[in-house]
């Protein structure tokens, strides 16, 4: 057979009956997407590091900015701590959902995925509350704030906003996959293969992973 050249040659070479990764292709693709997402979030965090190093104005103390009082003395960073625990809880329910997916326990898989989605929605809700408090009560804007360095607002809104967007997308993704498991879509179209549950799980754990870094670098630093 003659060697194909041109566009057809590219297609043939790239689909040349070779498999590098012995995992379902959807899972390999999700990992590669997450790798690219890693670079996006890293660029944001590195940009934040850079402006925080370069500013000659004191950086607002996150411990005080994000303190919340329930009647008494303000507790430092308490809302962020609760958000962190909510996200970790959702990661746990997701891990269990993946496990039950492999056991083909349809009911438990769907319930755990919906629980994960609900916890994710709760996280976004608390984030909306946090943003409202910062914008309305504290007067934080992307171009300045009363507490110190102007760059605090721009980096905060960009980093947490982008993360919140990922969580919101994840909630939709979870609901879609859970619905497909529940209505038997994968039983009809994928021969009962629930690997999509694990792929959705990869995305969700990644969102939790990014939060680990945001929590450490933005809130605790």
């Amino acid at each position: 057979m003659a060697e194909q050249t041109g566009l057809e040659g590219i297609v043939i070479d790239w689909s040349d009956d070779k498999q590098a990764f012995h995992v379902p292709w959807g899972k390999a693709m999700m990992w590669i997407f997450l790798l690219s997402d890693t670079f996006i979030f890293s660029c944001f965090l590195i940009g934040y590091m850079n402006v925080r190093i370069t500013t000659t104005v004191p950086w607002p103390n996150p411990s005080e900015v994000f303190a919340l009082s329930f009647g008494g003395e303000p507790i430092p960073l308490i809302l962020i701590a609760i958000m962190t625990f909510v996200l970790i809880t959702s990661s746990g329910t997701m891990a269990l959902a993946v496990n039950y997916g492999y056991r083909r326990d349809k009911k438990k898989t769907v319930l755990l995925m919906l629980a994960t989605a609900a916890l994710g929605a709760m996280f976004v809700g608390m984030q909306a509350f946090e943003w409202t408090k910062l914008i309305v009560d504290e007067g934080v804007r992307p171009w300045g704030n009363p507490m110190g360095a102007a760059q605090f607002g721009s980096t905060f809104f960009m980093i947490t906003g982008f993360h919140g967007m990922h969580v919101s997308a994840g909630v939709i993704y979870l609901i879609v996959t859970a619905t497909r498991v529940g209505t038997g879509y994968y039983d009809r179209h994928r021969g009962g293969n629930y690997e999509m549950v694990e792929i959705t799980g990869l995305y969700w754990h990644f969102v939790d992973l990014v939060w680990v870094f945001i929590f450490a670098f933005f809130y605790l630093w």
């Binding site: 012995h22 790798l35 104005v57 746990g92 496990n99 056991r103 754990h205 680990v212």
Partner: protein, 136 residues
């Protein structure tokens, strides 16, 4: 940290070897529930520790060391167990985990550049408040 990973890998091994022979189907990731529960609790505890660092207002080198330590332990547990990286083949592990290493160069460059910019600002504008706030 080394001790932690030794204990961690030992526990993972103990929990998986019994099932390993049965579940070594290609790309199949079924592991005992108990391991997820253990990691889940571990993440809770580590998050609690991270929060405690801030709550007790630890300062200086101790603060940064603890924050980074807990951060890496949490990230490692999530990637290795929840995302099943510990059971994937090396081809996939290297393809995903090696490229981010070039971020270390990027971080170093931007840190050096940041110090330079900071010094330039001090020399040019002085440490005073004049440049502090653009009005909003």
């Amino acid at each position: 940290m080394g001790i932690y990973f030794c204990v961690f890998l030992f526990v993972v091994n103990e929990m998986t070897t019994t099932q390993a022979e049965v579940t070594q189907v290609e790309g199949h990731q079924q592991h005992p529930l108990s391991i997820y529960i253990v990691v889940w609790i571990l993440l809770f505890v580590l998050s609690g520790f991270s929060y405690a660092v801030d709550y007790f207002q630890l300062e200086g080198a101790l603060r940064w060391t603890l924050i980074l330590l807990f951060m890496f332990l949490k990230a490692g547990a999530i990637i290795a167990i929840f995302m099943h990286m510990a059971w994937e083949r090396l081809a996939l592990i290297y393809a995903i985990l090696v490229p981010p290493l070039c971020l270390l160069v990027f971080i170093a460059l931007m840190a050096i550049e940041g110090d330079y910019t900071f010094l330039a600002r001090l020399i040019t504008f002085g440490p005073a408040e004049e440049i502090s706030q653009p009005h909003h």
